[in-house]
Every structure is written in C-alpha cells, then in structure tokens.
C-alpha cells in the first residue's frame, strides 16, 4: 500500500510535466491546426534560458523561472511569425515539416553551444525531503508539481473564463465564424503560441531544477510523450490532454515500481495505442467526429 501510494505520487509529478508540454502541443493543434514539432525544443530553450540566468540566493528560482518563460516565449513568437504564420492554412504537412526543421535547428544549435552531453543544473531548490502522510517526496518534486499544476490551472482559467480565451475556443471549433464575429484570428494564433511556449519554458526550468541537469536533446523524450497524449485525448477539450498526461505519468510510475523501469515506455505506449484502437477520435472526442 505504501509503495502504491508512493508510485502514484511520483507518477502524478512526472505526469504534470507531460501535461504542461502536451497542453502546449494541443493548443497549437486545436487552435491553429498546426502540429508544432518545435514545441518540445522551445521547452528545451526555456530550460537553458533558466540555467543562464540562475542566480544564487532566495530569488534564484523566481528569476530562473522568469528567464525560462521569456526565453521560450520569445522563440515561440519568432517561430510563429517566421514559420507557422506564412505556412499555415495550406497543407498540414507544410507546417509540420517547417516546425520539424526548426526543432532540428534548435537542438543541434544548442548542442553546438553547450555540447551534446547533459549539463548540470544550478541548485534552485534545496535538497530536502517532505513527508506527506505515508508518501515521502523531495522538496524539488513538490515545487515542480506545484508549478505545473498552477500553469495548468492558469491556462484552464484563461480558455474558460476570459473573453480572449473564449475566442480561442471559438477559433478551435469554427475559425470562419469566429473571424466573422470580429475575432482577429492571426492575433489569437500569435497569442496562443506565445502562451504555449511561455508555459513550456516555466515547466522546463522546474524540471531542470528537479533532475539537476539540462540536455540539448531533452525535448525528444517529452515531445513524443506529449504528442501521444494529445492524440489519445482528442482535440475537443483542452482539459482532456491534462487528464491523459497525468494518467500516463501514473502508468509509468506503477510499471517502474512493480515491473521494471526498462518496460516503462513500452507499457505506456501500449496502453495509449490500445486506447486509440477503441476510440480513434480520442478519449474525449474530436471536433471532426
């Protein structure tokens, strides 16, 4: 029972990071109809931006988070202006290939600067343990989880309860009607990519602090999982992708705890593919259905 709860807690923490990256993917796909393969590498850029600006002292974490957010948002905005916006609205493959090119450029560009091996991340959160009932967590895990949940809650509030967020959902379902009722579709697309990138940047810094290392190719791992979460959730509700990502984290942690860590990814993807077999439009449905 102790192991079960411990692994569920570990799973929720990993899953919350997947959820933030997956939600960024999902925002780009549902609102812009773009598969943004550069998104995981914007996450990576955020991680290094936080590393560069990490200062010792009590404000170190906040400064690093802000740097990660701004760095990732700037790259996201530049990507939208130079690659996504000119290629959007034609074949979906165009933006897919364009953003994939940017992804390769970002990864290898960063590897050129910092080298292809993991780099150690500054100590932004003290090493100490926190007991929550029968579960023992590190303070770093708790901080990471709190930051990710806050990001998810903020985005959820934005799309549900603000005028601009409502317009964002309106574009996701019917872009033409939204435009005809006064929504500047191009502007909402820019804002959406910037928000997705900014939240990925914040999450990236907290992940860097959690594992104590950053890596130019860290995006690959998160990208594949986040992309799969988006497909499994379907594009009808933004919150769906959060649920699937948290579920994926729990499955991974349980497999690691009870079977073997080398089976972790295999079992996780097996379950996700299994879901798509029975619900091809995703667990929570698709606009196309």
């Amino acid at each position: 029972m102790g192991l079960l709860l411990q692994q569920i807690a570990n799973g929720l923490i990993i899953g919350s990071t997947y959820a933030v990256v997956a939600l960024g993917f999902s925002l780009a796909f549902t609102v812009l109809r773009v598969i943004n393969f550069a998104h995981p590498d914007i996450f990576m850029v955020g991680m290094f931006a936080g590393l560069v600006f990490a200062l010792p002292g009590p404000w170190g974490l906040l400064v690093a988070l802000a740097a990660g957010m701004l760095g990732a948002a700037a790259v996201g905005w530049a990507l939208e202006r130079t690659v996504i916006s000119p290629l959007r609205g034609r074949d979906v493959l165009m933006t897919l290939i364009g953003t994939l090119g940017v992804a390769i450029m970002l990864e290898n560009g960063m590897a050129l600067i910092v080298g292809p091996d993991p780099v150690s991340y500054p100590n932004l959160v003290p090493r100490q343990f926190v007991d929550v009932g029968p579960v023992t967590l590190t303070l770093r895990q708790v901080v990471n989880f709190a930051i990710c949940l806050m990001l998810l809650a903020l985005v959820s509030f934005y799309v549900r309860a603000t005028k601009f967020g409502r317009a964002t959902r309106a574009i996701a379902e019917r872009p033409d009607v939204a435009a005809a009722f006064g929504v500047d579709v191009g502007l909402v697309c820019q804002v959406t990519i910037v928000i997705a990138s900014a939240m990925a940047g914040v999450a990236a810094v907290s992940v860097g602090a959690l594992y104590g290392s950053a890596h130019a190719f860290v995006g690959l791992l998160y990208g594949l999982k986040a992309f799969t979460c988006m497909l499994v959730a379907g594009d009808r509700y933004f919150e769906g992708v959060m649920v699937v990502a948290l579920g994926l984290g729990i499955i991974e942690a349980l497999v690691t705890g009870y079977l073997s860590s080398s089976l972790r990814d295999a079992v996780a993807f097996f379950v996700l593919i299994g879901v798509l077999l029975f619900r091809p439009n995703g667990l929570f449905g698709s606009y196309a259905a």
């Binding site: 005028k163 309106a170 435009a179 005809a180 009722f181 500047d184």
Partner: protein, 240 residues
C-alpha cells in the same frame, strides 16, 4: 441614395472551378432583399465573400459607398456593422448558449452593453434563458436557429446576412423564423437573405435576385419575380 451594400461583377472560384461568375446586386438601407437559387448556385459563396472569408478573382464589394470590403479582413468588416447567420446555424457546439451569445458581441468593447443585449435576447427567447448553461450542440434545430439569430443580433448589425435561415427546420418553426425576419427588419436592420424557400422569402422581401450557376439571371421587385414563370416552375412548384 447610396446603397448600403453594392456587389458588382463579383467572380469567385474554388481552385479552377468557378462558383460565381460576375454577379452584381445591391441593397439599400432598411430593405430586405433575397437571393433565390438552387443548391450550388453560388449563394453562400457570395455571402462569404462579402464577409471577407473568401477572396474573389475579380469584382467589387462596396459598403455604404465608401468602404471597399475586398481590402478588409473579416474582423474589420464585422466592425463596420455586418453580421452573419450562417447556413446550418454553425454554432460553437462545445460552447454554452450564453458563451455563444457573448461571442456575438465580441467586437463590442463595452461589456455592459453586450450583457444588456444578451438579456434582451433572453426576454425575446425565454427558452434560451432556460438553456443558457447547456452546450449549444445539445439544443434542438429550432433552438439552435434562435441562438444563431440572437448571436447575430447581439452584434447590433446594420446589415444582417442570413444564409438559408429556414434550412432543416420544422414547418411551424420556419414560420417563426420568417416572422422574426420581419421583426428584425422593423428594428431598422437591413437584411440580405439567401433562401430556397422562395414562397416565404418572397413574402418578406421587397426585392429578389435569381441566381443560376453563379450568375444573376434576373432581379426585380419581389411581386414581379414571384409571378415570373421560371420562378413558378423552379421554386414554387408551378402553382401560385
């Protein structure tokens, strides 16, 4: 008098396929005009081009004599006072009724004015008030058409473009919709309507155009068009 909207020599294609071939029409302030035509005649294409959602190959669309709509984006055209009741309602099915209505007032910066107009619509359609927190996709066809019309009225338009408002509705609801068209026009809103229900449309409109395979083949006062032999044969089933 300057026409509120004048479309001249409009030509629109989907790829290499021409949908509208040099159509001209106009509407003056306070009027209801109708474009009659069969499926695929190009009616919806004309409406979407006026709204800035399609780019034409040629022609001109002027609003109030001064604005060239072909140079503007859809959200800029909305701010000039045009609103749209799309074919088949096209509500945001995943948004609640009240959110659909609020989106109608998106271009309005005064939030209180939008809330007031939403309340007016709830007065007019009490059934929508009961359903305000349901997602629009769960409503009946007639209720959805009311949301679509209310959404457009909350935009406080000068010119309302209605694309087949009676399509797919029960006969009793169709009568309600045409009564509503008359009421909206009495509020001072000009209406350009596209319809296949010629009998009802010709009763509310003062002027009618006949669109066949992308070209306007006839246009005139609604009474004259109603007695036209071609309209009789094609739209009114040969009886008067």
């Amino acid at each position: 008098m300057t026409p509120l909207l004048s479309v001249s020599e409009l030509a629109v294609s989907y790829g290499a396929v021409p949908a509208v071939k040099g159509a001209s029409l106009e509407i003056f302030p306070g009027e209801v005009r109708v474009i009659l035509g069969a499926n695929g005649a190009g009616k919806t294409t004309i409406i979407k081009t006026v709204l800035g959602l399609l780019r034409p190959r040629g022609g001109e669309v002027r609003y109030n004599g001064e604005h060239n709509l072909l140079r503007l984006k859809p959200h800029q055209i909305r701010r000039l006072g045009l609103a749209w009741v799309p074919e088949g309602r096209q509500l945001w099915n995943t948004l609640t009724v009240i959110d659909n209505l609020r989106m109608g007032g998106f271009a309005e910066s005064d939030r209180k004015a939008v809330d007031r107009r939403v309340d007016e619509m709830f007065e007019r359609f009490p059934r929508l008030r009961e359903r305000r927190d349901q997602v629009a996709g769960s409503l009946s066809g007639g209720e959805q058409q009311m949301v679509a019309i209310a959404r457009a009225l909350i935009a406080a338009p000068k010119l309302l473009l209605m694309d087949e408002p009676s399509l797919g509705l029960a006969p009793i609801v169709v009568r309600d919709v045409f009564r509503l068209v008359r009421d909206i026009n009495a509020m001072g809103i000009s209406i350009l309507m596209v319809e296949q229900n010629a009998r009802q449309a010709l009763r509310v409109a003062s002027w009618a155009y006949l669109l066949e395979v992308g070209a306007i083949v006839d246009g005139g006062p609604a009474d004259d068009i109603a007695s036209h032999s071609r309209v009789q044969a094609v739209f009114l089933g040969g009886e008067a």
